[in-house]
Symmetry: C2
Subunit: 418 residues, 2 copies
């Protein structure tokens, strides 16, 4: 058995398959006889010395995590700043690592987490502490550099495409006497990857979604309304998919325009879909409905993409192998070999190429008129939602999701009040 | 081959399995060598003499309808009034029936449709026109009398329970530094059946959903806020499921309170979830998120309940058999023989016992404190979401939903301008 322990932590928004990555990490480490501690709620737990001992998990529990959404060890939203600004925090991390004989640190997250993992590795080197830091890719936002795609995105993309196809069939059946315009709000504050995935729901000219609103394009209400009106006239109804991050020419988020106070002076929370629906009603007079799936779109393990699941597990396995091989300050990434049939393999990239870079959607993925996706986008996106990977169901009709009871290891350091 | 044609029409909101009922109707009629015409957009198409000839559908298309959401022949929201008030419409229906030799009329819908089918049968008798009228049960609202449950409800219930369990796992993972209160809005203007189904997502005291708001109970904001605060303190987060139809003591819909005008004077569409989320933020200061699945919950064929699908097809088959046996003014209904394991059979009930009755949720289904479901509710609901009935997927990762091209039969009457 190698000396020392491996620490696994995850940060940022969870996904339908981040537990699958954790499952692969635990399984691979076990076969290599390495003990894994898992930080409770990500880097917060690492700082606070709240570390789960995963040795107590049964093999069935580890296997079950692969089909369970959410993040079983918890996650957090906490970005560490530069080594200078947040030196106390980085130093504390090293103290915790030393106290628990952490020799390998796996950090699962997005751009920020890649940056943190890189900085931790730099500080360890500075102090001559033998530590191997490996990033693990994850984010429904699909905005990590280098990797072909990000585990978590494919399943959210599949949920989006399937849901839009389904509700469009509903709207089509009722449009003559009921809802004529339907607005679906997709996650994506900076990049329209999930909104683009909705484009997979249709292939013909008049198939839903009829209009996709990307944060990469300026939202022009008058142009949008003209298009909605024309589509309702031609098709009988119009299904719109809007990224939460769309902005008007002055740079303001459309979602913010919808907020404010209601007639009682109470906070009215914003939202792109509800705002657009209200405007369509005001301007065009059509009956409108809208949907805001919110966290449902990133936790829908019941509709996970098999491709996404396989990649989520592959990066987990590869991360452990990298770590145990002493490959420091790297991240396993997905490399696309071919679109159709889709072939991919895992490569190892330096964190320095990933940290603080953001992959935006290529210009060639958005149709010239700005309201749909191109063939190139379709070729990129389709393989990522391919295949189904259903969770097992128990007799009561619900997925058999696994929520293991876990215990924290005993603290060895004074409490941290950073 | 029996003389005459069968007319199939559907009305009201569509469901994930109403096409499965249509599929069973078409298949059964075909084996009995009866030609089926299908009204375009429900009773509107019957009035307007817009009748699809289903003879042109292939067997594969009919089979495919069983796994396709939406309503392939269309539906509408149009309630016929009494025979006196809407006599011209009823007379027009008889004219259309005569012109196309309709001898059997199958009307798929909720309470209103059962009432319409009953009145059509009465008028036909008055005019000595030989017509057999059969209602077919359907509604995600689950509010039809006599039948144990309504096809369409079980699948929407399964979607609700699974989605709430999934997003609760997401919230749990992030609550320490992110969203602490999550509000999920369920359909149900008058009865809380779908909100109740969310209760299946958890079994333990602190399992989500922590609070369910039923339209059957008066919404008391102060009491609600106290409960949310206590749950966040004890559990770390709180998942709320709210029926769209909840009201305050003065009888006003909470959803309406959330509407009004935004800061630009634009219409701000209401909604229970966004309103409650805003209030939680104002009163308790917690970070909140909310979801409004809207039509997604009734069109999610990808997550249909196998029980629901089987019942949807069984009522379709039985309706054709009833009609061809000359059982007039009846509806096939589902009778529960046992809860666990669930056994049910189809019975035939007179439309007069169903039309204009509304099945409300039994008082014994809501917990004494008003915020959850009882064991009795659980025993009733669980069998309805049992089993999975996945649609086939094509290689591109999307369900292979079937949208047949159909042609209308040639009109034989002057246009109708009622």
């Amino acid at each position: 058995m190698p000396a020392g322990n491996l620490l696994y932590a995850q940060s940022g928004g969870v996904t339908a398959v981040i537990n699958a990555t954790a499952s692969a990490v635990l399984h691979t480490a076990r076969t290599r006889k390495v003990r894994v501690l898992a930080a409770r709620n990500g880097i917060l737990g690492a700082l606070g010395e709240e570390l789960f001992d995963t040795s107590a998990l049964t093999s069935a529990e580890i296997k079950g995590l692969a089909h369970t959404p959410g993040g079983t060890f918890g996650s957090c939203r906490l970005k560490l700043k530069s080594l200078t600004e947040d030196r106390a925090k980085y130093a504390r991390l090293l103290d915790v690592f030393k106290a628990h004989d952490i020799r390998w640190f796996l950090y699962n997250g997005g751009n920020d987490s890649a940056d943190t993992a890189l900085k931790v590795s730099q500080l360890a080197a500075e102090f001559d502490y033998p530590l191997t830091c490996v990033g693990v890719p994850k984010t429904v936002d699909n905005d990590l550099a280098v990797t072909d795609c990000c585990p978590g995105f494919g399943s959210a993309a599949k949920y989006t495409a399937v849901s839009v196809r389904e509700c469009a069939l509903d709207v089509a059946a009722m449009a003559e006497t009921s809802t004529k315009v339907f607005v679906y709000e997709a996650m994506g504050r900076h990049a329209g990857w999930l909104a683009a995935a909705a484009g997979l729901a249709g292939t013909g000219k008049d198939d839903a979604p009829h209009l996709i609103l990307f944060p990469e394009r300026v939202f022009d209400e008058a142009d949008f309304m003209a298009k909605v009106a024309a589509i309702v006239k031609r098709v009988g109804y119009c299904v719109v998919v809007a990224s939460e991050g769309i902005r008007t020419a002055d740079g303001r988020f459309v979602a913010d325009a919808g907020g404010g106070k209601d007639s009682f002076g109470h906070t009215q929370l914003g939202g792109v879909a509800s705002h657009l629906a209200g405007r369509v009603k005001d301007v065009l007079g059509h009956k409108v409905h809208w949907a805001l799936p919110d966290y449902l779109q990133r936790s829908a393990r019941h509709l996970a993409s098999k491709t996404d699941l396989e990649q989520a597990m592959a990066v987990g396995r590869a991360a452990v192998e990298c770590a145990l091989n002493g490959q420091n300050a790297v991240m396993p990434v997905i490399v696309r070999d071919a679109d159709a049939p889709y072939h991919w393999h895992i490569d190892i990239a330096p964190l320095s190429r990933i940290a603080n870079h953001e992959k935006t959607m290529p210009k060639g993925f958005i149709r010239k008129d700005g309201y749909g996706i191109t063939t190139a986008a379709r070729h990129y996106l389709l393989p990522l939602i391919e295949g189904e990977a259903y969770p097992p169901y128990v007799r009561d009709g619900l997925p058999n999701y696994v929520v293991p009871k876990m215990t924290l290891v005993r603290r060895r350091l004074p409490a941290w009040n950073g």
